[in-house]
């Protein structure tokens, strides 16, 4: 008996086009250990990844042991991930040879190479020439690595100073003949100044965020922060699901700035699922880069990353990625533009309520004392005091039952009324 293979037929097209760098899907592996050698990259391509950003080539480095640490939350491992690893410590010639082989074997996948040359024009020019000879499709400038390289005036030390960043981009643009992406560090007050400087200096695109400087924790027995390197530690780069909200905010500021909005962006920062990817794209990312999730679970996660995105696009009626890239950007506004007449109050569905009391205690101690407790043994009944409810969402957020608490619209007035108008009218 033959086994029938059911091939799913998708309507949506998830292929990406980033400055002419084409990939069958928008998922690139970020510059990191999974992309530091041929054996990994070939397996990633076989698994279905759309592209890779080859781990940063440049100065001579040597790594230490240990290198990683993480933050767990309520029994869930690696909510946040931290590393003190440097750029590629393999010989440049080996990397270049392997890049060329990967490009030859998988011509339909994006091959971008991350670079961090020594701080002089010649070094950059020489490195760019060598990389372009491999057939790679694009260059990503690593102005973001927050540890090890910064002490030498490289990595984040570049990304934190728009002037230096601009000078380096100018050197790069003198030599580069393929698309150049500047990768931004989040270890700044705002990513926009460096982003603008890079774009004005000619960078074709931006990518963000690199990792965030962190101390993930302190061992309560040895009193040494982790990761422990012979009784000492150092600030590392934080990434993984914990940093996603920070990355989304920074991405939005790039998407809303008139200078940086003109170039495509590759979004990075805690992307683990297709949902994360869709959110990055809604806020302006053309492609997304993944690292921690792949390091944790392996390349196989690409299957649902593609499948889930495809199904969602079908459901929403999007035929291509361009149909929704940037779609949510205009909805993020400044606080004073928000409609003060919009008012919602919580409603508890008593049929779904499991009487855990989490809404009650969070509202009581953490919000506005707007939930009533009616004693029962063993199950209390909780109801909303609508007149006290400010519509903050806290109860809904903590409720463990899906759709048990809903927020019901009860507008204060029909018209749109923002803060400025509210003040102009004397606060009524």
């Amino acid at each position: 008996m033959s086994v029938a293979v059911i091939k799913r037929i998708f309507m949506a097209d998830i292929s990406a086009n980033f400055l002419g760098i084409r990939s069958p899907n928008p998922y690139w592996l970020a510059s990191a250990p999974p992309t530091d050698k041929k054996i990994n990259v070939l397996r990633a391509f076989e698994a279905g990844w759309g592209g890779v950003v080859w781990k940063t080539l440049g100065s001579q480095v040597k790594n230490v042991s240990s290198r990683y640490s993480s933050v767990d939350y309520n029994g869930s491992r690696v909510m946040g991930f931290n590393n003190i690893e440097l750029i590629s410590d393999r010989p440049l010639a080996v990397n270049l040879k392997e890049i060329a082989e990967c490009v030859r074997l998988f011509p339909d996948r994006a091959m971008v190479v991350s670079l961090m040359a020594d701080n002089n024009r010649e070094s950059w020019h020489e490195l760019i020439k060598q990389v372009e000879d491999t057939g790679a499709h694009g260059l990503e400038l690593n102005f973001g690595c927050p540890h090890g390289m910064t002490e030498r005036g490289m990595g984040a030390a570049v990304g934190q100073d728009p002037e230096i960043a601009a000078r380096l981009v100018e050197w790069v643009m003198e030599a580069a003949t393929i698309p150049v992406i500047t990768k931004l560090t989040p270890n700044v007050h705002s990513v926009v100044p460096t982003g603008r400087a890079a774009v004005k200096a000619g960078s074709h695109a931006l990518s963000l965020i690199n990792t965030i400087q962190s101390v993930t924790g302190v061992d309560l027995d040895t009193f040494v922060p982790n990761p422990n390197v012979a009784g000492q530690s150092t600030f590392g780069g934080y990434c993984g699901p914990a940093v996603k909200p920070i990355a989304l905010k920074m991405l939005t500021t790039i998407a809303q700035d008139p200078v940086t909005a003109k170039v495509p962006v590759s979004g990075i920062g805690g992307i683990s699922t297709w949902k994360d990817a869709a959110e990055f794209m809604l806020l302006g990312a053309t492609t997304v880069q993944v690292c921690t999730a792949a390091m944790r679970y392996g390349f196989r996660i690409i299957e649902d990353l593609c499948d889930g995105l495809n199904n969602w696009m079908d459901e929403k009626g999007f035929r291509t990625l361009d149909d929704f890239i940037g779609r949510s950007v205009p909805t993020l506004t400044s606080w004073e533009e928000l409609d003060m007449n919009y008012h919602i109050v919580a409603n508890i569905n008593q049929d779904k309520c499991i009487h855990c009391g989490l809404c009650y205690i969070s509202c009581e101690d953490g919000s506005h004392q707007a939930i009533n407790l009616s004693y029962g043994n063993p199950y209390n009944t909780y109801t909303i005091k609508e007149e006290e409810c400010v519509g903050c969402n806290l109860c809904k957020l903590v409720c463990p039952v899906d759709n048990c608490i809903t927020m019901v619209e009860q507008r204060h007035g029909d018209e749109y009324l923002n803060w400025k108008e509210y003040q102009r009218r004397g606060g009524v």
């Binding site: 309520n74 029994g75 499991i354 009487h355 855990c356 009391g357 989490l358 009650y360 205690i361 407790l373 043994n377 063993p378 199950y379 209390n380 463990p400 039952v401």
Partner: protein
Amino acid sequence: MAVQNNRLTAEEYEQRFSDIHPPFETRDAALVDANRCLFCYDAPCTKSCPTGINVPKFIKQITTDNLKGAAYTIFSSNIMGGGCAKVCPVEKLCEGACVYNLMEETAIPIARLQRYATEPAIKGQWRMFERKQRTGKKVAIIGAGPAGLSCAHALSREGVDVTIYEKEAKGGGLMTYGIAAYKVTPAFCEEEVSFITGIGGIDIRYNQELGKDILLSALQEEYDAVYLAFGVGLARQLYIPGEQLEGVVDAISFIYDIRNSGFPAVPVGDQVAVIGMGMTAIDAATQARRLGAKEVTLVYRRTQQEMPCTVAEMDIALLDGCKIIWLAAPAEIIGENGKATQLICHSVRLEEDNTGRRQPVLTDEKIVLPVDMVIKAAGQMPFEQLIYENQLHHNGGKIAVTGNGVTSINGVFAGGDCVNGGKEVVDAVQAGKEGAAAILAYLQADCHVSSSH
């Protein structure tokens, strides 16, 4: 067919009586379940615990690796929290109330987590409670069971010196002598008693029986107060012909023998009938099976709807291969040569009485069970004689109390099974706490009276 002991090898006994609810083997395993706990506010599990253990708090403490804190949270509400974690019918108490049940999801394994938190404290005999300065007051307690030990611990914490008179050679009461061996081992019971008395100020005098070795009147003279916690113990008679035949035993002494003499020493029949469907009936039936009985049949005169044991308990018996005959009322035990050979039951139907309760009504139909052993587990009787002799007010042999264990005799308090007629260990522990509070209030009032003179 014969009633005989020593049916199995040492390995078989060990295997059949090994822990039925094994502990978490690793911290990781405990944390998976501990982290599922929602940390409910005014939690239904806590409200459903007779001793009111703050369950979400101790589970949260497990998740933060504060095991000492978790143990303290448990013991400060229930000093027998270790034993209760093994013997409580949690499916009708804390776990039965877990909000996950309302989501049709598996409840948090509270008992297993409680065991995880308490076992190191008991094994290591951690000193978790300090006594207050001695008050010079002395209290006598009758019975070193859950109620007596709980009362003693609560009094000792407040600086009262306690002497417990225990008729058996070991403490623990029902926990040590009345519960299936696969739930709790004698060794654990001893450790638990030492853990409780480790606070100091508690002197247990064993082999001292009220009414024989000691008299209430003497205790009243010697001590500032007396707490009666002697439990129940006598098995209810069936009052049917043949009850005196060889092979007819009561469940209380059957289980007592298993706990006291060791598995190989206890004789069991090939075909055993157990009368009753309470927790004790289940413990007797399952242990008869595990001791090597070929067939064990539980006989109950009502239906599953009315049975006193929990479904979880019944399932243990069914998984052990015990059979259940519902709606059967024992009428007679027939014997040959003085030995039981048949149990004759009336078939029963249930009819609602005028209170709406379904009452068994005998029919003409008879059920005949070939047996060589009959274990009676149709409830326990209070120690009525003790109560009459000491002129305590009572309700059908159960000591009558007002409030928190105040009896009809000034300075004499009571709690646990001798008051409630026989409930769970955890109920007795709570009664002991309440009794101690009443005694402390009494002693304090007494102080004021003395000082005013």
